[in-house]
Symmetry: C2
Subunit: 181 residues, 2 copies
């Protein structure tokens, strides 16, 4: 459905905006409670101009120690990271940090559900990749293998998510299916 | 054990520091994966001084739309807020925002586990109050009743948590017990 992909691409929405919208839809429909965590900031200087107004005058972006999204779906703990790439042929693994991989491994070891949502910007294609598969590609890299996941590999291991209107990126449809398997 | 309480009080640790330490202990011991969410910030102006250094020059604190802590314990979704009060006789409900109460109600409706951890600063006493009890006190207030929870009520409804060394505030012991009941 090329026409659909193009029309959504035209909207110029980022993956994060689409996911926030999707999560809001899930929340209002009673499907799940999933939120994006705030960006971690190191605050250095704050001006308290009045009792009620505090202005942060100096702060720095910190690296996140976990993934960006988490929440609850059917009693299960859900945890994921969303990433976009400009590359058309592969997904660079440098998009992930080692502590994010470790965090996802911890989540899985406590019977949580962890995954990543990957978007190829040039073609506006979105995939859900289960953490178990991400770990394999990560280990391949650590063992001296390629530093990215080939798009063909994502197509065969991952789960394609077609854009929709409500919700825009229905990733829980994939999770629901995996829970039934 | 008054001596113990006093000695811990002398440390001058905040509830947040004690809980972060506790969560780090849980993580390294393989008990649970629970993190504090970053403080939500509205960024207005950023200076990109070099390729790698971005300095936030103007930003404001935003109100959180959820609770501060969440994660996974034995496959279950855990969600809580931690609050301190200077009052010795009651816990003011204005410490909570309505959207935090609504968030906890949403969590419970999806079979997650929601609660609050309350600390009385003057006596350095810590209690875990289950969300179902918090909701009752909140509704009492909404129906024109008192705007706080009496300490006596917290003692009878809540679960006292004694300070420890490792972990400092073992709130999952309470949750484990509740899961077995
Ligand atoms: Mg991120
Ligand atoms: Mg808070």
């Amino acid at each position: 459905n090329k026409e659909k992909i193009i029309s959504y691409g035209k909207r110029g929405m980022t993956l994060e905006e689409d996911l926030n919208d999707t999560n809001m839809y899930y929340l209002s429909n009673g499907t799940a409670v999933i939120h994006k965590k705030p960006t971690p900031i190191q605050i250095v200087q704050v001006d308290y101009q009045s009792r009620s107004t505090a202005v942060i005058k100096e702060a720095y972006f910190r690296q996140a120690s976990t993934t960006d999204y988490n929440g609850v779906y059917k009693g299960k703990y859900i945890d994921f990271e969303a990433k976009e790439t400009q590359s058309a042929t592969s997904f660079p693994l440098r998009n992930f940090h080692e502590h994010q991989i470790n965090h996802m491994k911890n989540v899985v070891s406590h019977n949580g559900i962890a995954f990543v949502i990957l978007r190829f910007v040039s073609t506006d294609e979105v995939f859900l990749l289960e953490s178990k598969d991400l770990f394999l590609f990560w280990e391949r890299m650590e063992n001296g293998g390629r530093k990215s996941i080939k798009k063909d590999e994502i197509i065969s291991c991952g789960h394609r998510i077609e854009y929709g209107l409500h919700p825009r990126i229905d990733y829980l449809k994939v999770i629901q299916h995996l829970l039934l398997v």
